[in-house]
């Protein structure tokens, strides 16, 4: 019997999170290689329109897992609903995007089914009939091939940008959509979530910047931020930072790049003293070109850089500013 791969797409307030297309593309690629069948599902309240949208893609079936108690999102209700569903429709492999919402419920769901989740994977391998998943370790310094030792279902979450969402194939016709009404008994949901909000109006929209100079821990002290600012000004770009800089209050939170900050794709991303932890990389790996200056020759940021300078940024940035000024006249 053919095994089933089940992709759970993410919706928030009734809208499909576009990163879900990447997970569909991942599921299609694995299905093509293994010969397993691919199904998809959406979880929520009144989300049949999303199920229909997903059914346009090349999947054999789409399930709309419904309960009024699934809105607003709570980990208790989501884990309960998906466990009920997967007990009725067993899958070999369950794929999801590695979003903050998925991170919040997937370890609970997997544990409740006495199985495990390989989280934040960036790819997969299928060799000799064995499936393994590639993920970063030690903040991106190493990669690891990780495989399941249990019986499953096996949960896997994929990091943003690991697959191309625009490569998710459309189907020949719309796949069948089946509604699965799930009962979430009173007492299952323990948390009471309030409205989602944005802290302050974002003063800077870094997503529109063509040139970004970004600083990390290597900048060492708050007073050195000025040097990076001068470089950004010389280039006519915006100043940004990795999380620890904003945590320290050296730059405001709205200049933070990464999973908890903004995701950018400028023409030039110049990284000063940024080692390149995964949480930062996901926010900037779409840049057209990346230049990194870092004293550690093994910093993961160099893996994705076009031009790399191994050295002390305090030695290199001052002459760099002068040369840029000369070049711009």
């Amino acid at each position: 019997m053919a095994e089933t791969i089940f992709v759970i797409v993410e919706q928030r307030e009734g809208k499909l999170n576009r990163v879900s297309w990447e997970t569909i593309a991942a599921g299609q690629a694995i299905a093509a290689e293994t010969g397993w069948s691919l199904e998809a599902g959406v979880v929520g309240s009144g989300v049949s329109a999303i199920a229909s949208e997903v059914a346009q893609k090349k999947v054999s079936k789409v399930y709309d897992v419904e309960s009024p108690k699934l809105e607003p999102y709570t980990p208790d209700a989501f884990a309960h609903a998906l466990k009920s569903f997967l007990e009725k429709y067993p899958a070999k492999l369950v794929l999801m995007p590695h979003t903050y919402q998925v991170r919040d419920f997937v370890p609970k769901l997997a544990t409740s089914m006495e199985t495990t989740a390989i989280t934040d994977a960036v790819g997969y391998k299928y060799e000799g009939g064995k499936l393994s998943f590639t993920r970063q370790m030690f903040q991106g310094k190493f990669m690891a091939d990780v495989s399941f030792a249990g019986t499953g279902p096996c949960f896997v979450t994929f990091q943003n940008g690991s697959f191309r969402g625009d490569k998710a194939e459309a189907g020949g016709g719309a796949a069948a959509v089946e509604t699965f009404n799930v009962d979430v008994p009173d007492g299952v949901i323990r948390n009471k979530p309030q409205e989602v909000f944005k802290e302050a109006k974002q003063a800077v929209d870094l997503t529109q910047a063509e040139i970004i100079v970004s600083v990390g821990r290597g900048i060492k002290e708050q007073k050195n931020i000025e040097l990076a600012k001068q470089l950004a000004d010389a280039l006519g770009g915006e100043l940004a930072a990795s999380r620890p800089i904003c945590d320290n209050g050296w730059l405001p939170m709205d200049r933070q790049i990464g999973s908890s900050g903004q995701t950018v794709a400028p023409k030039l991303y110049l990284a000063l003293g940024i080692s390149g932890a995964i949480q930062h990389i996901v926010g900037m790996k779409g840049a057209r070109s990346i230049v990194a200056i870092n004293k550690d020759s093994e910093a993961p940021i160099f893996e994705i850089s076009d031009y790399a300078v191994v050295g002390n940024l305090f030695d290199i940035v001052p002459p760099l500013i002068e040369e840029i000024k000369k070049a711009r006249g």
Partner: protein
């Protein structure tokens, strides 16, 4: 409030790491430090205790070296420590680590259990949530603020792209703490002195093994990432590098 803080020792951020011969893990002869989000979790526990009184207990699972993390936590103000001490704890998956911790605290009742949101080594971001499920407790992840309320606590969750959400959670509960939730304190000299007399309970692998099982996931192979780009390294004196880089910015990348 009685609060448990789960902490992990990880290689120092800028420690040069090398693979072991089997290519399944790193060589462990490196310098270690506390996992950064766990340090924020401890700080938050200490602050909650200062506001509402109670007790802060710290726990770690790891070899003898990992005791350093507990010592530092005691010096900063934690009241007592639990050390699940064995080399084998290094190789556990998140499910087994959570099961070991659950077994080690089975005779205790905590109002709150904190973990950092993820570890700098594996980066699975799962142990806290799994622990909540094993203990039958509600949880909330990526927490940036905790206020006590009449019915329990109100926490501020960080969501993606600058969004946040307040969530009311009944106690007892498990929270995973985000870096930057507070400002870390340093240990004082008197704190370091007092730490030596504070209780440290050792738990062996044998004590908790019956609660554990086989790892459900396995690292087949670890390796240095393949380059996805042809990186050109620019070398020379700082002024030579500056000239070369500007030439690239101008003629190759065309941003000047």
């Amino acid at each position: 409030m009685k609060i448990l803080v789960c902490m992990k020792q990880v290689p120092q951020k800028d420690a040069p790491l090398k693979l072991n011969e089997a290519g399944t893990w790193i060589r462990e002869d490196v310098s270690y430090e506390v996992n950064e989000p766990d340090a924020f979790a401890l700080e938050e526990a200490l602050r909650q205790k200062e506001k509402h009184s109670g007790e802060v207990v710290v726990i770690t699972a790891g070899p003898a070296r990992a005791m350093q993390v507990l010592r530092e936590a005691l010096a900063k103000g934690a009241d007592r420590a639990i050390h699940l001490e064995d080399n084998a704890f290094v190789g556990l998956d998140a499910y087994n680590t959570a099961r070991a911790i659950a077994a080690a605290i089975k005779d205790e009742k905590f109002d709150l259990i904190f973990t950092g949101l993820q570890s700098d080594d594996y980066g699975y971001a799962q142990t806290g949530v799994i622990l909540a499920q094993i203990l039958g407790l509600p949880h909330a992840t990526i927490i940036m603020q905790i206020e006590k309320t009449e019915a329990g606590i109100r926490v501020k969750r960080e969501l993606e792209a600058g969004f946040f959400q307040f969530v009311d959670v009944p106690l007892p509960a498990v929270l995973t703490i985000q870096s930057g939730i507070n400002k870390l304190r340093y240990a004082t000299l008197i704190g370091i002195k007092q730490a030596k007399t504070k209780p440290m309970r050792k738990v062996t692998l044998a004590d908790v093994q019956s609660a554990m099982g086989n790892n459900l996931q396995k690292i087949d192979k670890m390796y240095i990432p393949e380059k996805s780009k042809n990186t050109e390294f620019l070398e020379g004196s700082p002024s030579e590098i500056a000239k070369k880089l500007v030439e690239k910015l101008k003629n190759e990348l065309r941003v000047i």
